[in-house]
Amino acid sequence: MKQKGIEINDRVSWQNITLAGAVYGGGTAKQFATGDWRSMRPVMVWEKCKQCLLCAPVCPDSSIPVEAGKRLDFDYDHCKGCGVCVQVCPFEAILFKKEEK
């Protein structure tokens, strides 16, 4: 991630790191892949999905992208496997599987 021209990573020195860890700009969470926190993985069964879109707004992490009125596959770089979408789906179109590495 770049902050005011400063690269923020685990090689930046104390002299060059942003003051008190301040993060500039908005929407920077997108730059950090946090999907590896996941222990359970939601998996789409596309033939059961009716595109009712009940799942997208309940995702706490904006990990269900919607384009032109249709949901796309999960953003696995950021989905943390909370399972809310699995619970809310009326058509059992989202399976919840153990994450395997």
Binding site: V12, W14, Q15, I17, A20, G21, A22, V23, T28
Partner: protein, 401 residues
């Protein structure tokens, strides 16, 4: 020139608050600092200042409100004592590590228990590792002056560290003294307007403050924070010089009193410096080479200045008004030992004194100088004393068998 008035230390702080262009004051009453928000809220109610006064429900909330306000882009301050300061403990660390240049009038008082509302430094010493700068005042005038200077020290771009201006509970907070005041205009001009480089209400540049700091980052941020504390030493002197130009009153990191040729020196924080100066005058009249080092900036600790001031003495008494419960002496003693590390120098003896408001009288200070004379004279003279009070960690004016 300034206006002279008769005021208590608390009244003086409340008056300073009025002139400091503060946007927010959030405080909760706690003896002996209660009068500060009490007087100040009267100024707010009378329309004498446009500061927002937040009467919070606890000191944890007082510090939290100050942190929120300062992060948003406001200049914030508070006042507290003892258990109030203890309740702030968590947020003191948060504010300091966020590098928010807040100020606090800390009116020092013993921490319970046993329950006690009187003066010692147990509360402030409990906060000495929180990352706040700590200045200690000898009298109401210095409490007032330190509190005004605190804003400029904290907000300096090299420092960006909050400042606690400490004065001794009741001894200076409630005793009425003749003091010289600056006008609101003079104070306002001296501290200027708060212009933070980054703040949460800045529409032009979005910023998130205080994000989670993983193991890969926290050490770098702590080192960065320590740098702000270290940079404060020259800034405290710079601000003092600017303040002297305005007020005619000069302050250093430490104040040396009759140390030039002194063989025996007392090192002290706060109001006891005044008592000691009188004792020194009396003893000097009898030809005794005694002196005093008053520590004004305790955090950051001016180790080089202290070492320079005491290294030529033969025996030094370090006066601790807080029992650090380390089993090897008080907190100031530890700092003095660090300052003298590797330099040789005088025999150092720690004195625990004035705890829970125990009176500190001239005869007590004289007794310490007598002990130092015994320490100088060598083993035979001091043997009895060491047997009774130990080689370096003693209690002053303690009842014992």
């Amino acid at each position: 020139m300034g206006k002279r008035d008769r005021l208590s230390g608390n009244e003086a702080i409340a008056l300073a608050m009025k002139g400091m262009n503060l946007d927010v004051v959030a405080a909760f009453p706690i003896t002996p600092s209660t009068e500060i928000p009490q007087y100040f809220s009267q100024y707010v109610a009378n329309g004498e200042t446009d500061t927002l006064f937040i009467p919070v429900e606890s000191e944890h909330s007082a510090m939290s409100a100050c942190i929120g306000a300062q992060a948003a882009g406001a200049r914030a301050s508070t006042a507290t004592s003892s258990c109030g300061l203890a309740l702030m403990y968590e947020m003191l660390h948060v504010g300091a590590s966020l590098r928010l240049p807040m100020t606090m009038a800390c009116v020092t008082r013993a921490l319970t228990g046993p329950i006690n509302i009187h003066n010692d430094h147990g509360d402030a010493m409990g906060a000495r590792d929180t990352g706040w700068i700590q200045l200690y005042a000898e009298n109401a005038q210095e409490a007032y002056d330190n509190y005004i200077m605190a804003v400029k020290i904290a907000e300096d771009k090299q420092v960006l560290t909050p400042v606690m201006a400490c004065q001794d509970g009741f001894i200076t907070s409630h005793a009425v003294e003749n003091i010289e005041l600056l006008s609101d205009e003079e104070i306002g001009k001296f501290v200027g307007l708060y212009e933070p480089a980054e703040y949460l209400l800045n529409e032009e540049e979005k910023v998130a403050m205080g994000p989670y700091d993983a193991p890969a980052y926290l050490m770098e941020h702590k080192r960065q924070q320590a740098e702000g504390m270290m940079q404060a030493l020259p800034v405290i002197e710079k601000v003092a010089a600017e303040f002297a130009a305005l007020s005619g009153r000069h302050y250093g990191l430490i104040e040396e009193y009759q140390t030039e040729d002194a063989e025996r020196i007392l090192v002290v924080l706060g109001s006891t410096a005044g008592t000691a100066k009188q004792v020194i005058k009396n003893l000097r009249a009898k030809g005794e080479k005694v002196g005093l080092v008053k520590i004004r900036s305790y955090r950051p600790f001016p180790a080089a200045a202290v070492a320079k001031a005491i290294k030529k003495a033969k025996a030094v008494a370090v006066m601790d008004k807080a029992e650090g419960m380390s089993g090897i002496g008080g907190p100031l003693f530890g700092d003095i030992c660090v300052a003298m590390n590797g330099l040789g120098g005088p025999r150092l003896i720690d004195y625990m004194y004035g705890l829970g408001g125990r009176d500190v009288r001239p005869e007590h200070i004289e007794a310490v100088y007598r002990d130092l004379a015994a320490a100088m004279a060598g083993k035979a003279d001091e043997e009895q004393l060491i047997k009774k009070a130990g080689p370096y960690y003693r209690y002053l004016a303690l009842r014992e068998e």
